[in-house]
Symmetry: C2
Subunit: 373 residues, 2 copies
């Protein structure tokens, strides 16, 4: 079991015991986070970023860790999320393996990794843990809460269950409930991992690691994170050099196959398989309709936030843009002054990690209109 903790991470010790929504509790758990900029004396300039399934808290470089972060072009001095104005916090999700407590972390009761003995994880637990970090940093109310992808779910849970935690909200490629296409994809990813004999009911180690299962799961993820349109332009039918192909009639032949292989290779040993299972299932379970009498839109309307921006990509097949439109509609019904932007980005669900020409100005424009604290 490996945890992958960025340099310069800071940690918040969660309240202990930390109760979990679906039952059970954690003892001695922690959340890894990083910060940028300076918190104002009145703590009024704080932004929290909650992430998608796989990122760590290292959203951008800083003095404690100069390596580029996963949202480097968006976050820093003079950038769309301008750290000369804002104090920014990014948390690694509870249940992940990037410094926060999750299935790969040692269970203090035994000293051994939790593995499948980790309690069932829900998006609400991830949100509750993030809320503790906000409070611990002395932030009474966030100026803005930003969530991408799974983080869009986490942000909605945060807003609903911690009323007043933020004045404004940006939801990017998010969703108020998991729908069956995305559940099917994640179910198949989990099946790939669980079918790998090396997964061994979660008791793998570095020498016996479910590499094939993770590779399949990651490739399937990448396929659904992008779009056919982008790939037509990017890869077309370009083939690899014949020498890469070799004699295997079913080996890699097209550039798109090699691209997937490269993505998978970079991922499989850098994310814990059990954490992947837990976080994917948490997304499947997420459903704001639970709080809205069976209607997601009614659950959204229970959220109180002053201003909101929902952004989606028209090419997203995993969290279709109708889901971000629904978030905007629901938050508006709850009283927020709300804007929705459907981006013509070709990059699908991942557009917010690629299409900075569109996402940068949209996020900057919204933040610029927030009143001075």
């Amino acid at each position: 079991m490996t945890e992958f903790i960025p340099e310069g991470s800071r940690f918040h010790a969660l309240s202990s015991p930390f109760p979990m929504k679906r039952g059970g509790q954690l003892h001695g758990a922690r959340i890894a986070y990083e910060t940028w900029g300076t918190l104002a004396a009145d703590a009024g300039n704080a932004i929290l970023i909650v992430t998608g399934l796989s990122p760590d808290a290292h959203a951008a470089s800083h003095a404690g860790n100069p390596a580029p972060g996963w949202w480097e072009p968006m976050l820093g001095p003079g950038k769309p999320i301008d750290t000369e104005r804002w104090f920014v916090v990014c948390v690694n999700s509870l249940g992940s393996c990037k410094g926060s407590t999750g299935p790969a972390s040692p269970d203090p009761a035994s000293g051994q990794p939790y593995r499948l003995s980790f309690p069932e994880l829900s998006v609400e637990d991830i949100a509750n843990a993030a809320a503790e970090v906000v409070r611990a940093l002395g932030i009474g109310q966030l100026a803005c809460l930003i969530g991408n992808s799974m983080g869009g779910m986490t942000a909605l849970a945060l807003l609903l269950h911690h009323p007043g935690i933020a004045r404004a909200h940006i939801n990017i490629s998010g969703s108020a409930q998991a729908l069956p296409f995305s559940i099917a994809i994640r179910s198949l990813q989990r099946e790939a991992i669980r079918l790998d004999p090396a997964w061994n009911d979660g008791t793998y180690d570095e020498a016996h690691y479910p590499e094939s299962g993770m590779r399949m799961a990651r490739k399937l993820g990448v396929i659904t994170y992008r779009s056919a349109l982008e790939w037509d332009g990017r890869f077309g039918r370009v083939r690899l050099d014949s020498e890469q192909n070799g004699d295997d009639p079913f080996g890699l032949e097209f550039q798109v196959e090699s691209y997937l292989e490269g993505h998978a290779r970079r991922f499989v040993r850098n994310f814990d398989p059990n954490c992947y299972l837990y976080l994917g299932r948490a997304m499947d379970w997420f459903d704001l309709a639970e709080y809205g009498g069976g209607e997601a839109i009614a659950g959204l309307a229970k959220i109180r936030v002053q201003r909101a921006l929902a952004i989606g990509a028209n090419t997203d097949i995993l969290f279709p843009v109708e889901q971000q439109q629904q978030i905007a509609d629901g938050l508006r019904a709850g009283g927020a002054q709300t804007q929705f932007i459907g981006m013509d980005s070709p990059q699908g669900h991942d557009a917010f990690l690629v299409d900075y020409d569109r996402y940068g100005p949209a996020v900057r424009g919204f933040l610029d209109t927030l009143p001075p604290h």
Copy 2:
């Protein structure tokens, strides 16, 4: 190695040797086919149907096999493809395992199944084999050639390489070339099969069968054959009875997961894994741009057919509707009187197998306008 031959199949012995596009040749190979209706004295009322990846030649029930076929609502007396007017032939593709020769068939040289010694299969080979059946039945020119999905590729190859083989053509959910998203999906399906230790480089048997790999491959296929929109309405977030779920935290929980499982279970032992690999790769390789100086549209424009109808579903993510629009545009550039219909069917790539309210009238309407022979 198992072949799955419908009752009442007829067989055509291919010319021997039968040369394959990418090298090698087959000896003593055959094509399974079925027919409906009566061939006119002038043989002018013939329709050929070429199929998608998995179907057999049993498109509909007939006296020799009363079981419903895979296109039962479309084909029969008074139905959209009216067998009181038309003599209809459906062939099982070369390389399949439903009666035609393929990797699961015995190699006459050894008496053992070909397995991976089967020569590389191309869509053009499938088309050439189908053309032989047409000629052997005494049909000089088809009144109409109908191809669905992979069969849409086969049909285009037939028209291009056998000029004059058909007066009219209906291309449903077809494509003039494989694009990277669909290549990626099929590549991942093949990887799932090949990673299954029981695949064993193609030398499995009934007792040691790559069941898990085939299950993964089929589930991934079904996910891409339908659409998120359809599943939202059909499954939503409905859960299974808790007793089906059991205690496994990663077991089946949502209806959509059970639906995929059911589809997979019905498929995995009814289609030969090696044939699946060969047919998928044949689709990846298919590219009419080879015949059009690098442009698919120019390849299409080399086809000579009098009238054509291209139909697609707006929700198809595997063969997007732009590909059927391209087929219409290219055939029109080649001189055909051409119609394109983008259907608002929610069922995605598989809509032609489900949405008979839309596809029935479209096919019937086109066939009704064909001149009497």
